[in-house]
Every structure is written in structure tokens, then in C-alpha cells.
């Protein structure tokens, strides 16, 4: 067979394998917008609760964010292949949402939810999810965001109301808005680079 096969054809096959493997892997790396969405949701909820101290600010905003995320994720993942990596990452965030929802609903209904506890637990849980995801993906930047959340979790336990709120807002801005926007830009650049390689 190799008598009829030119070196150029063999090289072509090798680059085909590489480009197809890159195409297959691209599907797990397109979620930067989700961090921005949740950052905006946290900001809105904080603003709403600060404005009129409504007990519905967080439940309503977070429920809306969950619905938007679930619908967008189901549309985005339709006809997409399943990978162990993408399922592992998705499981972390789904489990985080369920834990937060159950814990804060129970704490809210029992009347034992304080601002400090709320911000500290959210920060610690987000730190756990960012840390686990960052370690699985070997993504230093995401692990760095986990460290920011963990620092925020500790600071909100010791600071005054104002200090805790400022630290929490800074963590939201850095880990959700800045990190998410960076993710969106990095994904767009990667897509552009891969398209030019395939062209």
C-alpha cells in the first residue's frame, strides 16, 4: 500500500487526525458567558436587596439565573458529544446549585440566615467549585479565582457589614465578570485561530 502513498498524503492524514482531535476537544471550552451571567445575577440581587431589603431579591434573581442557565445550556449542548471531562465539570456546578438552593432556602425559612453567613458560605462554596474545576482542567487562572473566593469567605467572617459587602463585590467582579469576559475573549480567539488552521 505504501508504494502508492505519497509522503504528502501521509502528512495530510497526520494533520487531519490532529485537527479532528482538536475539533472534538473544542466542545468543552465554551462557557465563559455563564460566569458573566451569574456575576450580573449576583450584582442585581445584591443591589435589589440593598435597595429595599426585599426577602425575594436573592431567591427571585437566582431562580431566574438558574432558568436562563438551564435553557441556554440545553440549547448549547444539543447535538453535542458527551465527554467525561464536560460531564465532570457540569456535575460540579449542578451539585453546587442544588447545595446552595437547599441550604439557603432552609436557612431563610428557619430565620437563621445572616448577611455574614450568607456571603461566607456562598464564597466558600464557589471557591470549592472553582477550585475543583480549575484542578480538573489544570487551569491556573480558574484556580486563582478559587483562592480569591476562599479569601473572601474568610474575610466576610471577620469584617464589618460594609467591609464584607465590599470584599464580596470585589470577588464577584474579579471571579465572575473579569474571569468570564476573559473566557469569552479567549474562546473567540481560539476559534479564530483554529478556523485559520483548517482553512
Amino acid at each position: 500500500m505504501q508504494d502508492h502513498t505519497t509522503e504528502q498524503e501521509l502528512r495530510d492524514r497526520l494533520s487531519l487526525i490532529e485537527s479532528m482531535i482538536a475539533e472534538g476537544r473544542r466542545n468543552t471550552e465554551n462557557w465563559g458567558w455563564m460566569f458573566v451571567l451569574w456575576g450580573v445575577a449576583y450584582g442585581l440581587a445584591l443591589g435589589w436587596s440593598a435597595w429595599n431589603h426585599s426577602a425575594w431579591a436573592w431567591p427571585a434573581t437566582v431562580s431566574m439565573a438558574i432558568i436562563v442557565s438551564a435553557v441556554a445550556a440545553s440549547v448549547k449542548t444539543r447535538n453535542r458529544p458527551a465527554t467525561t471531562l464536560s460531564r465532570a465539570i457540569a456535575c460540579i456546578w449542578i451539585a453546587l446549585c442544588i447545595s446552595m438552593f437547599l441550604l439557603f432556602a432552609a436557612l431563610g425559612l428557619s430565620g437563621r440566615l445572616t448577611d455574614h453567613l450568607f456571603m461566607a458560605v456562598i464564597s466558600a462554596m464557589l471557591g470549592m467549585a472553582y477550585g475543583a474545576s480549575g484542578l480538573i482542567l489544570r487551569w491556573k487562572l480558574q484556580f486563582g479565582c478559587a483562592v480569591v473566593w476562599w479569601v473572601a469567605a474568610v474575610v466576610t467572617c471577620f469584617g464589618t457589614d460594609a467591609q464584607s459587602t465590599i470584599v464580596f463585590l470585589v470577588a464577584i467582579f474579579v471571579c465572575q465578570i473579569v474571569f468570564g469576559t476573559y473566557g469569552v475573549i479567549a474562546e473567540a480567539q481560539k476559534r479564530k485561530r483554529l478556523s485559520s488552521v483548517h482553512a
Binding site: 492524514r13 497526520l14 487531519l16 487526525i17 479532528m20 482531535i21 472534538g24 458527551a82
Partner: protein, 100 residues
């Protein structure tokens, strides 16, 4: 001249090689996703997937999702081995040029 390995003709086909490479990095993939990634026609894609299925390199699963038929493909262990051996043979044939 050293003995060069034979290239597996089932894997060597351009579209079949693309399909095996794609399936090697995912757990399973739908027909429509494979079609979008390879830009192949339905007929050609179906025929090449059938050849891979007959060789035991992929497994097919047909199911209904929200009343719509869905055909899902998955690479088998034999298919993964065939692809690995193909890449090894290809690199051996290309020699040091493969790393360029």
C-alpha cells in the same frame, strides 16, 4: 531499507480517519454533530460509518429523544487500538519528518 508497516485500509480512508479521530476524544457523538464537523453528505457519512461499524471500530445506538430519532456513535476498544496502531505506523513511515 527497513520493513515499513502496512497502513490499515479501513482507517486510512480520509472520512473514516476523521470520524475515528473525532470519536476518540468524546464518549459518544450524534450523527448530526459528526456531519457538521466533517462537512460530509448524509449518504457518504452513513456509508463510511457503516464500514467502521462492520469492522467493529464503532458502535451505533438508535434512540428517540423527545420523539425525534437520534443515532449516536461510540468508538470501540478495537477501534481505538486500530487508530493508535495507524498513527504509530504513519509516524514510522514518515520517520523524523513526522515530528516537524
Amino acid at each position: 531499507m527497513p520493513n515499513l508497516p502496512e497502513l490499515n485500509p479501513v482507517v486510512h480512508g480520509r472520512l473514516r480517519l476523521a470520524l475515528l479521530s473525532l470519536l476518540s476524544v468524546v464518549e459518544e457523538a450524534e450523527f448530526t454533530w459528526l456531519r457538521a464537523k466533517t462537512e460530509a453528505t448524509d449518504g457518504n457519512l452513513g456509508a463510511q460509518l457503516l464500514k467502521l461499524e462492520e469492522a467493529g471500530y464503532v458502535k451505533v445506538k438508535k434512540e428517540f429523544v423527545m420523539r425525534k430519532p437520534q443515532t449516536v456513535y461510540r468508538i470501540t476498544e478495537t477501534g481505538r487500538q486500530a487508530l493508535t496502531e495507524y498513527v504509530r505506523a504513519l509516524k514510522q513511515m514518515l520517520g523524523p519528518a513526522a515530528d516537524m
